[in-house]
Symmetry: C2
Subunit: 551 residues, 2 copies
């Protein structure tokens, strides 16, 4: 059997290695038009900063290594120009000699990756405008920075890469402006989550321009000013474009291989395309949601690796099948971590789910342990069956742990009520006796199944704006109340609530709240147990309200 | 309804708080013979060191707080002497006045906790021999240390507490000897895991005496020498006893409440004892394994909290039911973390499981990120159905994350093959592209389902000792081989294996290995694909072999 793989980064090399692990008899060849293979694209922002000194750190393996270990032939600077699916052959061009030649396959794998989107903005072609995608980009940017010592940078696009590069540049002492056309960074997340780290980004020195569109990269040879639709002019020495990627599908289209609705190459669970004996993996291929079953396009290194291994196994007789993804992602910005898995609230609502939403603000471990700090966990569950749909977390230490536990639970179809029963590892250096994951499950279960409903700050505000008759009760101390409170709230400290409840109207919708939600729930319990008809606890308390609504 | 709870630490206060959350009408009273309530026993080792300055940090809540928030009456220094199950009443003694009085209940909860085991060793009653269990113990030890400025300590018992106290004492500059009668510390774990951190404990300065029994605490008024069965004499200024706890069941026995085979109070899934309207929760109650369904006694704060909440819910009409535990635990020693969940190998074998065992040595994140370091993951799966039975991990950063992901997966009945499909959060500061959890699942699945069997160092050694005819192949570099290798191994670097395999006998059992297991697996794949009959990969490679067998 002869296997040809087009593309030698994460997905392509995974296919080849897994195929070889399964069989010694296949002839395995990889073509790549690029020079670098098997590199860590996710490491590039760290190379642009101070964390990685040598670019070789990002390309630990070369063609010789693959030959020796796996008997795989990797040919770089060789571009596959065309696929003939009937003859089962590819036309390859040697980019060094410009010679063209033909090779044949029994199994063909498209691991052609994705390319950074370059928005059609005037001046985008200037030499100090950079994308951040591959090793060449990285080397190019680094060279520019070494030569020109830029002091100011504009980053267009507030996704993972844009934010990570912002950190690297700030650490180099540069002025950083980050522009996003949405009213938030990280558009896959909800605004009431991103607001927590947008604030932190500003504190760390990022000039954050949200809801702004770049209209012009102005300057003579190089960009010296970035002009936005609202008329802002930002002086800069360089521009980083990080507005996303699109799948490289030209070869697939040429070979009449079907694309999916997402625009990426359509594949089945074995990573087979619409054409027999041709597979697609990694950033050029479509994925699907493990929660909804719907096709999605989420090009991530972790998924590329999975797809590659599955294709390599499948074409050599294995039984591995792709089981979909949750879209789990994480990034760090200085000492803040931001993570998500599964559906956001807006995504779940758009898909028609009736959602319960919790903002759970909890320390990662006891206050007396170094590294203790609060995290904000936003969790979404399906009211129909109680299943957890998605989680977003912002915090310092321990965010990665909780998102992975949530992702694992969601993978197994966990209901909110299951989380309390998890036997997670407790010792003071690592967590609180009940882990924040368990509290999240308990609060969602209470809301959905135990008549302890939650109301988010946004929901409360829109009911108030609607003119609904609502009693809002602040159960905190007088001092806390005076510092800030929800407009229109009555102040009844928790310790006096049992007594003063008699003077309240049990028939009117009531909202209780405290700082973060726990005492608000205690107040809610008291009123419900005293016969109040409808009592909500304000999700995330006053802290969340002030952050979300007052911003 | 009148609820009486006996015991006011983690479990007892959880019962009361949950009951109150469910109902305003119950009268809820807690009696405790002790002075301190709702404290963090797990925080005590940190108080004995330098992490916690004030003992109040461990007792953040007092009776007033519970009254105000939950309308719960907590009476301390009141010992319940007897329960009359027919009259539904308890006899209580006020330990301050010595008065006795009677109180009645509709629901009674035993949250009587556990007491440290004091071994019957001559001299154990001396005033510088301490247990570490409650706030009084902690205060007592601290006072002694402040007054006497001890320079040397002997710790008897190498469980969580003993090891955590050892760290605190070392940080204070003391000489620490830790004695355990087993040939290992942490008897719930396997020796081939504990050996990794026993080595680290010694490096950090602990004098570790394993397989030693203390026979005498010698000295006049105070212990000055600890004498062991093998004749060792260790000079010391103080002794810490941490050889485990036993459940406080005297009241239960007096009331004819059934104990389980573990010696703790038998309970059902609602935490009901054998006597109607009487519940037992926390360290006095029996638990059960979520994996095997068998009764076990694992007194941990995390479990106590769970049991308390379930009892409080159940007695007020809720539907919460205890779902068992995995025995998940974790501790830190300096910057090494050690964790376990589910069954150990020895436990699984004793229970009759046919186990597959993997030692997976992997970095927690890329080497170019600060905090990167290797962890050793030992994972046990059931060959019958592929289910994960248990995991033990030793490493630095990221151990708590992996153990919680494994614990979550095991809770949902995960098979080894499921782990590869998890969509865990990847970015360089947090993990490798494939997380160590995924590699663990892949290797176990390969072993059980893809004819890529593993052999542990201990299994290999016993086959060699048995005189079995085995070809052992070291696929590493010459330099590595010369540094250390498995006795009797042939040296064939991986790159030459395809070629040199022709000179080997395919019918003889063969073992391949490298440093940690990955290249060993690559060698195994080559030989199996070339038709070798039986090829094992050495679990954890030479690194694990040298650590486990050569010690």
């Amino acid at each position: 059997m002869k296997i040809i793989v087009i593309g030698s980064v994460a997905a392509g090399t995974s296919v080849a290695a897994k195929a070889r692990r399964n069989t010694e008899t296949a002839e395995i060849t990889i073509y790549d038009r690029d020079e670098h293979i098997s590199y860590s694209g996710c490491g590039i922002p760290y190379y642009l900063g101070t964390d990685i000194e040598e670019i070789d750190e990002l390309t630990p393996r070369n063609a010789k290594w693959f030959k020796k270990r796996y008997n795989i032939d990797i040919h770089t600077k060789q571009e596959v120009l065309a696929v003939d699916v009937n003859k089962k052959q590819v036309t390859v061009k040697n980019l060094q000699t410009n010679e063209e030649y033909v090779d044949t396959y029994d199994k063909l794998v498209l691991a052609t990756g994705a390319s950074p989107i370059v928005p059609p903005i005037s001046g985008v072609e200037k030499e100090n405008v950079f994308s951040v995608r591959n090793i060449q980009n990285a080397a190019h940017i680094k060279q520019f920075m070494t030569m020109k010592q830029p002091k100011k940078a504009v980053i267009v696009g507030g996704g993972f890469i844009g934010i990570e590069v912002a950190e690297s540049f700030l650490k180099l002492g540069m002025d950083v402006t980050l522009i996003d056309q949405e009213q938030q960074v990280m558009s896959s997340m909800d605004k009431d989550v991103t607001v927590w780290f947008e604030k932190y980004m500003k504190e760390k020195g990022v000039e954050l321009l949200l809801g702004e569109t770049v209209t012009n990269f102005a300057g003579d040879d190089v960009v010296t000013k970035v002009i936005t639709a609202s008329g802002k002019e930002i002086e800069t020495d360089m521009v980083i474009l990080s507005v996303g990627v699109r799948p490289n599908t030209a070869l697939a289209t040429q070979a009449s291989i079907k694309l999916g609705d997402t625009g990426a190459i359509a594949v089945n669970n074995k990573m087979e395309t619409s054409v027999e004996n041709i597979y697609a993996v990694g950033d050029c291929a479509e994925s699907f949601s493990r929660i909804t079953g719907k096709k999605i396009y989420r090009p991530l290194g972790s998924t590329a690796n999975k797809m590659g291994r599955i294709a390599g196994d499948s074409m050599t007789g294995g039984s591995l099948q792709f089981q979909g993804i949750l879209g789990t992602g994480i990034f760090k910005f200085f000492d803040m971590s931001v993570a998500q898995t599964g559906l956001s609230e807006k995504e779940a609502i758009a898909l028609g789910y009736d959602v319960e939403v919790l903002h759970n603000i909890k320390p990662n471990k006891p206050h007396y342990i170094q590294g203790s700090g609060e995290m904000v966990i936003k969790a979404i569950a399906d009211r129909k069956d109680g299943r957890l749909l998605g989680v977003q977390i912002v915090g310092k230490e321990g965010v990665d742990k909780r998102i992975d536990v949530f992702a694992t639970a969601i993978s197994f179809g966990a209901k909110a009520e299951d989380l309390f029963h998890l036997d997670l590892a407790y010792a003071p250096p690592f967590s609180t006796t009940k882990d924040p994951v368990m509290y999240t499950g308990m609060a969602l279960d209470n809301a959905m199944n135990q008549n302890r409903p939650l109301i988010t700050p946004n929901q409360l505000q829109s009911r108030v704006n609607n003119g609904d008759n609502i009693t809002i009760i602040d159960v905190r101390s007088k001092k806390d109340f005076e510092k800030s409170h929800v407009p229109g709230a009555l102040h009844i400290p928790l310790g006096e609530l049992r007594e003063k409840a008699t003077s309240l109207d049990k028939e009117i919708s009531t909202v209780t709240y405290c700082n973060k939600g726990v005492s608000g729930n205690a107040g809610q319990n008291i009123l419900i147990n005293l016969g109040f008809k409808e009592v909500y606890n304000l999700s995330g308390g006053n802290k969340n309200y002030q952050m979300t609504v007052s911003e």
